[in-house]
């Protein structure tokens, strides 16, 4: 009989977090109205679209080039940028069923999941980066154990940081290798680990190569089927149904 899952890792972008409501016309429309520059709405939307073409994806902009939203898109309007940062948090939502799943897993099953996500900026205190701030704002942070990134691992309850994760990568698997060492110290083996994510190259293939159970989240980005995927879920209600058989 397969061992029961004791460690659950969750990818953040387009997986736990749903950006569907974060649309440029809404975002820049609200900002322009708040700073009284309604005539700039189409200009800012157009520039944001151009910026996306430069960096290929919105996450690419957010992770490494957010300063250009201020300098290029918003003409250096710091008040507008401050609103952007607040609105970004406000308009990002939990993926359908993600909150219910997290509470169930943590409270009923006693497994606090960990966020395993790319983060380009240096890790600061809990709530200072976009991901842990999202967890705080959505009231979910207390149900999570660690925030694990190539910038370091952080205990979300205490804020303690483990810098040895700096320089690791999800894609080349070094982050998972180090994580396995940590988990081994807690007596957790690879067969007792599960990850939920949407990208093969970072969330599915490297963990599967290390013996993890993999759930491919298809609710936002559906990359198609993958030989390294054990289960597919289009929302977190389906993730919960799968997890009920694993824990």
């Amino acid at each position: 009989m397969a061992k029961k899952i004791r460690f659950v890792g969750i990818d953040y972008g387009q997986c736990y977090m749903a950006p569907a409501t974060l649309r440029n016309p809404r975002m820049f429309g609200d900002i322009a109205k708040m700073v009284g520059k309604q005539e700039m709405i189409p200009v800012w939307v157009d520039r944001m679209r151009r910026l996306k073409e430069k960096y290929k994806s919105y996450s690419g902009i957010k992770e490494g080039h957010k300063d250009e939203i201020l300098s290029y898109v918003l003409d250096g309007d710091q008040a507008a940028m401050d609103i952007f940062n607040d609105k970004e948090q406000e308009l990002l939502g939990l993926a359908p069923g993600a909150g219910e799943f997290t509470v169930w897993l943590a409270e009923e099953k006693g497994i606090k999941p960990s966020i395993i996500s790319e983060l380009k900026k240096t890790l600061g205190p809990v709530g200072s980066d976009i991901i842990s701030r999202f967890l705080v704002n959505k009231g979910m942070v207390k149900h999570f154990k660690y925030f694990i990134t190539p910038q370091g691992k952080m205990d979300l309850a205490t804020g303690e940081q483990f810098p040895e994760y700096r320089g690791t990568s999800k894609e080349d698997g070094t982050l998972y290798d180090l994580l396995m060492k940590d988990l081994a110290a807690e007596g957790i083996t690879s067969e007792e680990c599960c990850i939920i994510g949407d990208k093969w190259s970072t969330d599915i293939i490297p963990p599967k190569q290390r013996g993890w159970t993999t759930i491919q989240y298809t609710g936002h980005i559906h990359m198609g089927s993958c030989a390294s995927t054990d289960y597919y879920a289009k929302d977190w209600f389906e993730v919960k149904a799968i997890m009920e058989t694993l824990v």
């Binding site: 429309g29 109205k33 708040m34 009284g36």
Partner: protein, 167 residues
């Protein structure tokens, strides 16, 4: 650098257009089409007999509208979705504008009054300020009272000046 370059575009039905682009444009890069459901609300107004109806298009979360009120009109109207109507690819969500029990305009007036008190300034003092300071301060007051210009800041300032004059 030339001020502008031009791109020529031809459709399959023979339609041709020219569009000006940046003068430093080097080459075509790519073309892509996005298919996505978009929602646009259309708020329609009665006008005097013989005039065409008034209309404003709302593109901010149109399905989440709660209530509307024409200032100086018949009070609040709450929206109740009553039916949908499909015509080809177009789907309409139709609402009834039911008389509401609240006083939306009154709520805004009260919010403005509260902010004036918090800021320690009277409506008269604010209206007596010279431009552009006056519009700037009125804009700040409105934002603090949670009311924004939907289409232009001039609409907001105009509305606020009218409101402040009545206080």
């Amino acid at each position: 650098m030339a001020d502008k370059k031009y791109v020529l575009i031809k459709w399959k039905d023979g339609w041709q257009e020219v569009i000006g682009v940046e003068g430093d444009t080097i080459d075509l890069n790519k073309y892509f089409v996005i298919e996505r459901v978009e929602y646009y609300g259309r708020l329609v107004f009665d006008r005097p007999k013989g005039e065409y109806p008034g209309m404003v298009v709302l593109d901010r979360a149109p399905l989440e509208l709660e209530k509307v009120a024409l200032v100086g009109g018949d009070g609040d109207k709450v929206l109740k979705q009553t039916s949908t109507y499909r015509e080809g690819p177009r789907l309409e969500y139709n609402y009834e504008l039911e008389k509401g029990s609240g006083n939306f305009y009154g709520e805004v007036v009260e919010s403005v009054k509260k902010v004036l008190v918090d800021k320690g300034i009277s409506a008269k003092e604010l209206l007596a300020k010279a431009e552009p300071e006056r519009s700037k301060e009125i804009g700040k007051l409105a934002r603090a009272a949670n009311i924004l210009g939907g289409k232009s800041q001039a609409d907001l300032i105009g509305f606020m000046e009218e409101l402040l004059r009545k206080l």
